[in-house]
Symmetry: C2
Subunit: 254 residues, 2 copies
């Protein structure tokens, strides 16, 4: 039987989602918890990898196993054996043809940054400190250039290998708030898929423009001339959260 999980994690201390030799990963901790809970081994496949230090509010993953426990109770069984940084929010039976990676239609990431003269330890865990200020109207203006289908090769980390670097961004929504006397921004980016480091580099480019270090002309060129030198810096992983993955079906009833 195929099952699907919705997983939330504080990525600070993990080497990302995918199992690797040199670091503890979220996939590893989940598969270990599964073995402890159900005395069997599974391979858990996510909607996509998240990098070291990146968080997830709603990572979706699937596995195949024979379990007698009611599907909605799998979450609680796994949570008994997971470290406090990982929580399974929901579990359900999945359609047999469901694949958390290949069936994904849209993903939404959020990049969080805050603007203040000095660092704030109450914000640093899930948000990146930026010195100075950023004009929210400028951020919203420049974000519109990214909407639609583009070749995002300039926004991809050089070491990645993919078939195509063309991706579609459906929306970029920017929210602003003030807490503890400093400005926070949330940059929600929704698309059909993302290249390695793409959201973090888009965030760096938007902020670079809003702070006057990058021109509008430069941003426009970065989407046509495919030149990595035109884009902003790749922002640190702690500010990035995988918010949501959509499949066009209701996976978790209620």
């Amino acid at each position: 039987m195929k099952y699907v999980l919705k997983v939330c994690y504080d990525g600070t201390s993990f080497g990302g989602w995918q199992i690797q030799n040199n670091a503890v990963t979220v996939q590893q901790r989940l598969e270990e918890a599964f073995e402890k809970a159900f005395s069997q081994q599974v391979n858990i496949t996510a909607s996509g990898r998240t990098d070291a230090g990146v968080h997830a509010a709603g990572q979706v993953c699937h596995f195949t196993a024979d379990l007698t426990i009611p599907p909605e109770k799998i979450a609680d069984a796994l949570n008994c054996f997971l470290p406090k940084e990982i929580s399974v929010l929901a579990s359900a039976k999945a359609p047999e043809n469901f694949d958390a990676n290949r069936s994904a239609k849209r993903k939404t990431y959020c990049y969080n940054a805050y603007f203040s003269p000095r660092k704030n330890p109450l914000k640093d865990r899930f948000s990146t400190w930026v010195k100075g200020d950023a004009d929210i109207q400028k951020l919203r203006h420049i974000a519109t250039l990214f909407i639609g289908e583009h070749d995002f090769i300039a926004y991809m980390a050089s070491r990645s290998q993919v078939k195509t670097t063309v991706r579609t961004i459906y929306s970029i929504d920017i929210e602003e708030s003030i807490t503890y006397g400093s400005k926070n921004i949330k940059i929600f980016v929704c698309g059909n898929g993302f290249l390695y480091n793409m959201v973090r580099t888009i965030a760096g480019t938007l902020i670079g423009y809003a702070q006057g270090r990058i021109s509008e002309e430069q941003v426009k060129k970065s989407l046509t001339e495919k030149n990595r030198n035109l884009v902003g810096k790749t922002m640190p992983p702690n500010g990035l959260t995988l918010e949501d993955v959509e499949y066009g079906i209701n996976l978790f009833n209620g």
Copy 2:
């Protein structure tokens, strides 16, 4: 010369504010940073102790020293030697009769809780998980009983020693929001001072009432009959943040 600091800290890994033998504390880390930055030892006095695991957005403290650095730059000098969990947000010269503890007129604490069926690691660091739900109208209603001058002896941890257990609460403001699909509440409590564990026990009582475990009659009695058995449980420290300390003067210009 007397100086004042505004300090922010993520209290998760500290044994509270005050120097002690068995744990690393915020005061210790600040005094160590001071010695590294200025090659002299000082005693740093805070507005009040915060307990192990409690956070501060705006702890205020003072010290006396002879420094040649411009007062507003002391913050940056200390931040060079502080761990990432502590940040000095501002520094200034203080009036010679200023005392961070004795001059304090009002303090505001915030208790953060979230309501969901399962734990959320993106919220746990600064907010306490409560199963089930809470009616915000009921919370606001019961909070009004605490406003004014009362003997809060029933809300004090038994081991504390104080001259008087009478305190004045000026306001309790409750904010509600939804993030990651679950409800968050912020309970801001402003008063002229607080007994040991008082805010955490008030929070537990408000939530106990909103969840139907404690009656209005019981809460009323807890403020007149001084019986600790009438009050709710003391909530965990991770949800508590010292927000602000007011002195009736502008300590940090701008």
